[in-house]
Assembly symmetry: C3
Homo-oligomer: 190 residues x 3
């Protein structure tokens, strides 16, 4: 298919969505349209269409093999879409029993991304942003937990680069400098 | 096969065996039995059964391809075992010429682990534990060597997660807090 | 093929070439000959021979698939060479849009390296070496950029170890101690 396939990741609280939304708006203005797909939502829609699940709740209860097949189906469907695509997902997910690769081999082999972006910032800033965000209930994580998560994301992204040949880019989104993060992302996606 | 396949790793001196032994004892009490397999020992037994070697000494002299085939045979045999299994091995082995992945692709593809646990602690604590342990002769390693080894383990474990879809969990085993390490492991394995 | 296949990597300014040249000279003296191949140059020669490109300029303009095919052809040709080989390349390349794996899966599967060496030193030393080297025009990078690049190299090298079973060795090349770096490399390559 023509167009770039860009995967954008970042730990909860890093402000990934703000950077994506504003970057897409600017790129649109510049005549470089990107379609944004949330991988989780897209997978759920595929699951409904294929009659694998009826609601979100059933998604969480899928056994490992069904989940794997579903990830593969969703990846194949995304790979068939024409034009520039941003795939909004996680480099890794922190579960109660450890880190899970957001983009395991069977997803990467189908998606064939051109670029994986890690939106990052100082783990202490992320900690404070999470503490101030009273709208969401999150598990309590300390500075070191967030740091470990960001470090794991870098490590796993390196293995994604080895497998797919995609480039891996870190984009910082520090406090008060969203503007700079957006500029950098626009430059990379242009 | 039914049951969980959990790989437990950690650099020499981190106290991996103590954590495993005590965790298995508690899980047994709780009615969640785990069988523990030492990957090296298991591989040696397979090699004897297949008439590939007669003793441990011959194991070390095997050429690269025989070793690879043996790792594969052992992994297939473990994959056929029913029930919950702990595989006691190394995320990476430090050899005189560098780090060797303890779980290369051909092992992972057969084992299909659900979870890889990295038992870790502060590299300085590991250094002191090694210096106090006069029962074993080990190569002298400094703080930075141990830190590099633990860091390599985290990096290589991330690539294991990408290839297999397993979760990766760090469990700390600091001085005086074995009890806490065991509790955490029991919670993850339950 | 017989002989060792050793990949030697390092960020620009780390002094990789000095260490390689002097190590090969000593190994030659000791009767352990190594042939050194620059991966980029070798790939260009293959591209010329196969009539894929006429000059270096065309190399940079190749589309992704042609580049991939070329990398594969070059790797296959290197794999057919007899004797000990040093492959001089990069663990990762820093491009304007991010890090690119120097040794993606399709290269590793053909090359089947025995060993990957990362020549490293303190990022501040690399920074100063680059600033003093007025003979080359390089993009300006700060301490953190160089540190991120060296860290990415370690992470991606771990994934190379997982895929190929090769060992990964860090060799330090600090200021005033080239001699020590060479000694260490000779010991590993002997």
């Amino acid at each position: 298919m023509t167009g770039k396939k860009v995967i954008i990741t970042g730990v909860p609280g890093v402000g990934k969505t703000s950077v994506i939304t504003e970057s897409i708006r600017r790129l649109e203005e510049e005549g470089v349209p990107y379609q944004s797909i949330n991988f989780g939502t897209f997978m759920f829609e595929v699951a409904q269409k294929e009659n694998i699940v009826k609601d979100r709740d059933e998604m969480r209860k899928l056994d490992k093999n069904s989940q794997k097949r579903l990830q593969q189906l969703a990846s194949q469907a995304i790979a068939r879409i024409d034009g520039n695509i941003i795939i909004d997902t996680h480099a890794s997910v922190k579960t109660p029993v450890g880190f899970l690769a957001g983009l395991p081999e069977w997803v990467l082999k189908e998606l064939k991304p051109d670029l994986i972006i890690l939106v990052e910032t100082d783990s202490d800033q992320i900690l404070k942003r999470r503490l101030s965000d009273t709208s969401r209930i999150r598990d309590i994580e300390g500075y070191q937990d967030i740091q470990d998560h960001q470090d794991f994301n870098r490590a796993v992204a390196a293995s994604y680069a080895m497998l797919t040949g995609c480039t891996v880019r870190y984009i910082k989104n520090p406090d008060f400098l969203l503007e700079k993060a957006v500029e950098e992302m626009v430059q990379v996606l242009r």
